[in-house]
Amino acid sequence: MAETTYSAEDFAPAPALASVQGISRPSLSYWQDAWLRLKANRRALYSLYIVIALLAFTLVGPVVWNIDPALQDLQQISQAPQADRNATIIEPYKPWDGADAPMVARLRLAEPPTTQAVRLVWGALPGAAGYRLYRNIFPVGEERAYGLPLFETLDPAKHHFEDRLDLRPQTYFYSVVALDGQGRLTDAFETVEAEVRRVITVEEAEAMGLAEAGQALAPGDRIKLQAHPLGTDYLGRDMLARLMAGARVSLFIGLVAPLIFIAFGVAYGAAAGFFGGWMDQALMRFSDFVVALPFLLFMILIRVISGVQPGESGVAPMVLAMVLLSWPATARLVRGQILQIREEGYISASQLLGAGAPYLVLRHMIPNTLGVILVTLTFAVPTAIFTEAFLSFIGMGVAPPTASWGSMCNEGIKTMLTHPHELIFPALFISITVLAFNLLGDGLRDALDARMRSRE
């Protein structure tokens, strides 16, 4: 066993070393910590990428896909994405007087059918006092469904008709049915099939800028029509360009209005909940008052007061109105939460330690209501987008032809069955936006919530 001997020096104070007092890792503020944990949350990170992509779509998109969103391509109305774009150049439309068409025995096409016009001539049907002409997308079957009635005459001598109604490059089945003296349908009818070719005149092609520089187009030439990657809407406007233009309006209103009114609602609700007593009573009665005001009426009023002229975009008054009229729901919610939190032990503890009111509210109360606030925020986004659409519809929003996702949805719903792309694309963008902000909200909440640390 070795002997240990201690000298007096051994009990002298050690020299002060700076490195011992220091913390080995850099100190993190609350927000830095939150940011780190947000970065660690994979879903929140992805949602951040989506948000960046949406912003790029809105800001950079129009530069890359440089098409006027208000330009109407009437050759391609309600065109689905990836539709065939081939067209033949044709002479400009000339009115047709079928009277000099030769008398024929049966219903037939007077000229090759094109999207410009389908010209039909027919011969006398037995016992006909008149004719009605129909067009269908199926052959006439057992049930004698002739289709769309296009034309009717009680003059048995009339034997020609020109169809120009919404002709699309597809196969139609035309039927001419004989009418009796009272204009009722008889059993005598004839059918002809027409395979309609897509055509465009030189003038129209040039107006759309389809001709290459120096290229002289002549009837008979084949060209490709303007490309529309996501199809076109009910006036032949490019969906992609409109979605990009619409993103600007919808994202602005969908993000700015909710952010402002929720911020205001939080402050208001926190004040009411924190101070309590007569302050709370007075503040909450005022919020009841605001909720009960008829939204549409005061929306109109605010617009009138802000002096928006016809045809001008009233985005600012619209945001103002949304903010002025929408905050009470958030205020109520936050106040309820604050009332609950006010009684928590840690608040008393903090108060004992000398925390002032602003510190208590900002550091303890609001972060603890963050979950609820973020849910409200994410729900306020689509609500604001659709409120904008409704207001624009009654002339209280953005001026036409400005596009917005909400109003594109409103228009798309009508053609939901025949041209689903007009509804699906804008709805998809709204959904993606909401999804991104939902995930981001979730991530933020987890990151900001101090209690969540214990779980990791």
């Binding site: 469904a145 009635p149 006036l235 069955l417």
Partner: protein, 562 residues
Amino acid sequence: MTTKAISSTSLAIRQLGLFAFAAVAGLAALMWGLNLLANLTASASGANSAVDAASNAITVLISSEPPQLDSSLSTDQVSGMVLGHVMEGLLRYDENNELAPGVAESWRINADSAVFRLRENALWSDGKPVTAQDFVFAWRLALAPDNASQYAFILYPVKNAEAINQGTQPPEALGARALDDRTLEIEFERPIAFFDKLTAFSTYYPVRQDFYESTDGTYGADADKLLYNGPFVIASWVHGQSLDMRRNPLYWNQGRIHLDRINAGYITSDPNTSLNLFKDDKIVLTGLTPENLTSALEQRWQIHRFMDGSLFFLELNHRPDRLTSNLNLRKALYLAQDPNELVYKVIKLPGYLPGVSLFPSFLDGPHGRFRDDHPPPAHRIDVAAARRHLALAQAELGLDEFPSLVLLTGDNTVSNVQSEYFQAVFKKNLGLDIKIDRQIFKQRLAKMTSGEFDIVMAGWGPDYDDPLTFGDLFASWNLNNRGRYSNPAYDEQVRIAQNALDAEVRMAAFANMQRIIHEDVVIIPSYDRGVAYVTHPRLQGVRRRVVGADPDYSNAYIVPEA
């Protein structure tokens, strides 16, 4: 720790399951309770299929609640449709849209007066006879200045009617007198060529004084607040939900009614709901929109079309302080657009006709259609000529640059699409900026009246079956002339058409109006509106009418199942 957490989670989930079970049970109980409540408050709709041969009944949809069933005040189409089934005037339109005797069994119309002889068996639904006094009372009611009836003007051909309506003559001065219970004598204010057609209009329907007064200001507000003299009576009316019309056993002409019941069981203006209800065999008729035409084709339905007689147009503002008071600018606008493109590419519904004239195609002259005798001027889009006129206008107005024009429109889908179309057309062809001023109904009307627009998208439906209903629209004194067009030459033609009795003279006047409208570009016609619709295959005899009840089911009948 982890296992513990999971086990407590699974327990909690079992709890949630219990909660869910309780929730479903609670919901079922709630629904049962609500069902009891609902049965107490209202009669259920949709119990019947569209056509019920056993009880000889049909179910129809109306687009809105009839807002006014007091015939002296009624203005709208739905009220007109209901009134046309439950009331009858002196004359009526029959199944071939020809004038036929109604309450009057005979009549004589002279240059300055008319006498109607009422039938003995025309009865009110309480069994009392319809008398000449009932007509006199109804007309005085419509003309009473306090009632402010919008259709009072349609009675103006009767002597002193306008003065009474303006409050300068007492109601007793009206030139309509009951000589006895069954003889009605009418003095005219001035000669009129189409008085017989007017008597079929709803403002001319009779109202019985003692009943009207007994309702104390609520005449027509409920099923029992109205007295009927038409082929049907309203048996029950649940506001906003259903309006049940039953055969009137006291109606004089039982031979022309076949149905026992017309139940307006659904009230909505949504076209897709209407189509779905038709598909589900709940209603006998539905209109079609361009968007659901394809589904109608796929169902293999027999599609009908009909022109409802309304003309739609761009009305230009002729007030001197507006740019559109310049003729060359108006000509430029007119030449730069093509109604064919609008109808064939944008509207896309069969039945619409590209607009060419102030006078829609249905109007008749003495030898058939007015248009056949007096073809409207041809219109062809001509961008080069349009630009020339625009340049002239610019020089005349002394403008360096054209300011934007305001296009006033309403808040419905149709005007949204069309206004955006016009905006693009004028931009493309003329380089003109159009500002679309979309307004809700009452604000649009206020702006139309005060003239705060350059162009307004407007429409006009016929009140009676004579070209004058369109022709006098642009008379300088007509308040519905919202663009304040004023031209003595045009006014002169309107006066001729109003006062002349000779058909040829009147038609010539209308032809002149048509020419002036075209030359002066008073309006830019867009289209004659059409309607595409489908009816139940077992229901025959439904009439669509330009004037009067539309659709008219009063002569309809159910065919036996094939």
